[in-house]
Symmetry: D2
Subunit: 148 residues, 4 copies
């Protein structure tokens, strides 16, 4: 777990920072006219990391692991161009747990090189009231445990 006071100093381009991992393949259809992997594919790799994170940690919390959460902000830095064919690994980390939202940090790696990093804000959302909800104790405990 990364302590609050040290977060600013953390190097998110290093694999060891992340707690959860998925592997994915680059597809030929991911290539753009420059022969580079397009940003849409990179964003989809990050999405897979988050879906797997929820499957691994939140399946006991609610039956439908995707309901009750809304992704409200996604921010990505593209560091290096990806090439086809190849595979990528995406690491995910719970960086912050707020009142109604939590912040994930993600890194996309080829071998040990960080090719892109992302920050994602997810809000707990009540479909009926259409409003943000407080993160309850169960969820907070799950997210805190995932940080270790």
């Amino acid at each position: 777990m990364i302590k609050d006071r040290t977060k600013a100093e953390v190097n998110f381009k290093i694999r060891g920072v992340y707690t959860d991992w998925v592997t994915n393949n680059i597809r030929y259809s991911d290539l753009d006219p420059n022969g580079h992997v397009n940003n849409g594919a990179i964003n989809a790799f990050f999405e897979d990391g988050r879906v797997q994170f929820r499957a691994d940690h939140l399946s006991g919390y609610s039956e439908d692991i995707l309901a009750g959460f809304v992704l409200v902000k996604f921010s990505v830095e593209y560091l290096r161009a990806l090439k086809y064919p190849g595979s990528v690994e995406v690491g995910t980390l719970v960086l912050n747990i707020g009142r109604t939202s939590y912040l994930l940090k993600q890194g996309l790696f080829c071998d040990n090189e960080c090719m892109a990093s992302a920050e994602v804000v997810t809000v707990c959302f009540n479909k009926e009231t259409q409003r943000a909800e407080l993160i309850d104790d169960d969820l907070r405990e799950i997210l805190e445990k995932a940080q270790k």
Copy 2:
């Protein structure tokens, strides 16, 4: 409506053959390393034509217009390369209504030029028995009406 005996002579590369139409945009992310629109995008345009066909004709038949049908065969001829930016129009036609399945014919056009054509077999499927089902009278009437 195209009579059975004349089907073999029909030119499916002509717009007038088709009864139902949708328009779609080409996206930059559809381009492949050759600068052509990839086949995946072309197939997605045909899919949109079918979804719209069902929305227009089958919404009164069942609440969930997509349940109860399974696409089992998709066959496409790519005639000309598509370019970005641009838009395409997809025409759809009910070509044949069988016992448990129906056959759609589709054409993709830029202006008046046919860029690709497709044939699609959809089977009526019972989720519970996991078996093909007879096309009932209501559905047959709807499909026959769509041919005109």
Copy 3:
């Protein structure tokens, strides 16, 4: 053109802020298991807005309008879920012109409602030296003109 001192007060959820526009269609294949348009499609709509911006303003600057630039940061806020079928309009604005990079602001609208907004940093990049390059006078003039 938005003056520097007033940028903090600008409401980027209003159509009138943006100078350049593209229209796009939502596809059935953009839908995720929740029946919402997935974020990948939304990001592709923003990408189309940027490609069109370059085609409209930078075609006279260099033959290959995509060479020489690298998107290094993409940040998006998802405000409302998009639904299928439908179309979206993406507005683009040059918000800032720096030494080696420029900042675009983008808004995605359905009718007059802002569904998502994005910020994009593009760097001028020399392929041979693999380093960022100063924005030259020609490019600066083009970008400044585009702001009006």
Copy 4:
């Protein structure tokens, strides 16, 4: 190699038929509103099988392994719904070598179960004359060797 006279009897739903293989991951963004992997993803898996086939067999034939060929017909049978998460294996086989075109057969498997199969016609194409070209001896030899 499959002899011509026995082709009609071959079971293309068995892994042992295919000579060339690639593995691919299903992505969350491949899911449609029914929670099934959409056909577009399945078609992209087949495409990756073909690109890999060309990389493995045709890299010595011409520098740009994708130039000089045009996919003119793609036909796919969808046998079973794919689920997320998971991976697929695509097998490819040169089934026929004609005068100006060759026919690939492809099978998509999860474990030992065939989920979809495809037939693909690729034509040798001269970009300058914009016409089909005869398959030359070198290419014929490569394709024949790949059948074994």
